[in-house]
Structures are given as C-alpha cells and as structure tokens.
C-alpha cells in the first residue's frame, strides 16, 4: 500500500517520534511512503539548528537520517515554514535573511504537494499535537 504521512508537530513533541517509528514500520512491512509532508509546527522538525543534549535522543536528526537513507520525498510547506522561520538558500536570499536552516533532504514546496501525495495514496495519516 501507498502511505502519505503528515507531520504537524515540532521535534520535541512525542507525536513526531511516533510518526518516525510508524514510518519505519511502514517500510519494514513492505509498503511505500509516497511522501512525508511537514505542515503547521511540523516544519520546525526540518530545521537543522536544533541542539539536543548528548544524553537525549535527537528526533529531528533521526527523521533527517531516515529521509536521507530511504531517499524519501520529504516536503516542507513553504508558507508554514516561512512563517516559522525555516528557510532554504533561495528563500533566505529572497527575504534577505542571513540564516539558512532547512536541513538537507527536505524540500520547501506548496500545499499542492500534499494533495498530489494524497491522490496517489491508499492511506493518509497525520501525527500532530503532543
């Protein structure tokens, strides 16, 4: 089956870790992940400036490693990201901001990408809140 997974919470929320473990289980079961879409506060998960204490799990880093390892299509909603200060090189330049903080492996794009994923998916599942 084809899954779309929506991540709506920052990396500090347990929902974002549940989304990751679920996504790993989806692949392990032989299913496909058409797209992971980061929306609302979920866009903060895609920032590469988060610093986690050494004795604690780094869920943002784990998400990024998972995306890169499996070459997943990881789309971060551009409007939600701008609003919350998550920028790639192009957007930082466009808005004359000094910092670029979108982690490698993620792509900024529009909500059309959510719908495009949904149209291809057998199941759509969101992880948000706490």
């Amino acid at each position: 089956m084809k899954f779309v997974i929506n991540v709506l919470s920052p990396s500090t929320a347990p929902a974002t870790r549940r989304a990751l473990v679920f996504a790993q289980a989806v692949l392990a079961a032989g299913h496909d992940i058409v797209r992971v879409f980061f929306y609302q506060d979920g866009v903060l998960t895609a920032s590469n400036t988060q610093v986690v204490a050494q004795d604690q799990p780094d869920i943002a880093q784990q998400w990024q490693a998972f995306i890169v390892e499996h070459q997943l299509d990881a789309v971060v909603c551009i409007a939600a990201a701008l609003r919350r200060g998550v920028l790639d090189q192009a957007e930082a330049q466009r808005y004359q901001k000094d910092a670029v903080n979108l982690a490698a492996g993620y792509e900024l794009s529009g909500l059309g990408q959510l719908h495009d994923g949904v149209q291809q998916a057998d199941r759509v599942i969101s992880f948000g809140g706490a």
């Binding site: 929506n6 709506l8 929306y39 609302q40 409007a79 939600a80 609003r83 529009g110 909500l111 059309g112 959510l114 719908h115 495009d116 949904v118 149209q119 998916a121 199941r123 759509v124 969101s126 948000g128």
Partner: protein, 119 residues
C-alpha cells in the same frame, strides 16, 4: 477518479494560525479541482460566525479565505450542530452556507470519503 478528502477543522479562528492553515488546505484542493469537503466542528464552528473584527487583534483574518472557498469550488461545507449548541450559537447567523449536521449525519458523512484530515 480523484480521491475525495474530508477536512475536519477544529480550531478557533483567533487562536493562532491553525484555522487559517486548515483552510489553506481546502483552497489548495480547490485550485487543483480536487473533491474536498469541510466539516467545521468543536472550536472550528466559531470560524463561521459573522460580526467579527479580527483586525482588533492584528491577526490573520480567515474571513477572506472562507469567502474564497466557493470561488475555488469548495462548496460542500458542513457544521456540527451540537458544537454550535454548546457554545450558545444554535440560532446564530453563519457567514457561509454550511449544512447543519447532527452526530448521526456526521458518522454517515465520514464514511463517504477516501481520506479524512483533521486539523
């Protein structure tokens, strides 16, 4: 055939950007001519009230987005009657022509869609 989506919007219009970001999903579906319906429930029913002045709070105003829904072809709009009742809004005029549904009707509604996105 395109897959259908029911968007359940549960956030108040003045409690941050959640309500506006949910409506953006609906408008994007309309822009791509996809079949999406919106159910307003819980705090989300407050989005439909008239006589609001969000500019007093310097906040993103969802009114324009709501009015754009029909223009974008998003015309299947529903509101949970029980959620209006609890908030003293059983008789209030609504800004949009949304169909009032009781709980049983909402149960039936959910079963008609390929996907549900609750925000």
């Amino acid at each position: 055939m395109a897959q259908s989506v029911l968007l359940i919007s549960r956030s108040a219009p003045w409690a941050g950007v959640n309500a506006a970001e949910a409506l953006d999903i609906a408008l994007a579906a309309g822009a791509f001519d996809l079949p999406l319906s919106v159910l307003f429930m819980d705090e989300g029913v407050l989005q439909l009230l008239t006589q609001q002045q969000p500019q007093l709070l310097q906040q993103k105003d969802v009114t324009a987005q709501l009015q754009a829904l029909p223009m974008f072809g998003i015309e299947q709009l529903y509101v949970a009657q029980q959620c209006l009742n609890k908030r003293g809004l059983a008789q209030s005029p609504l800004a949009l022509d949304a169909e009032h549904l009781d709980d049983t009707q909402i149960q039936q509604l959910i079963r008609q869609f390929d996907h549900v996105i609750t925000l």
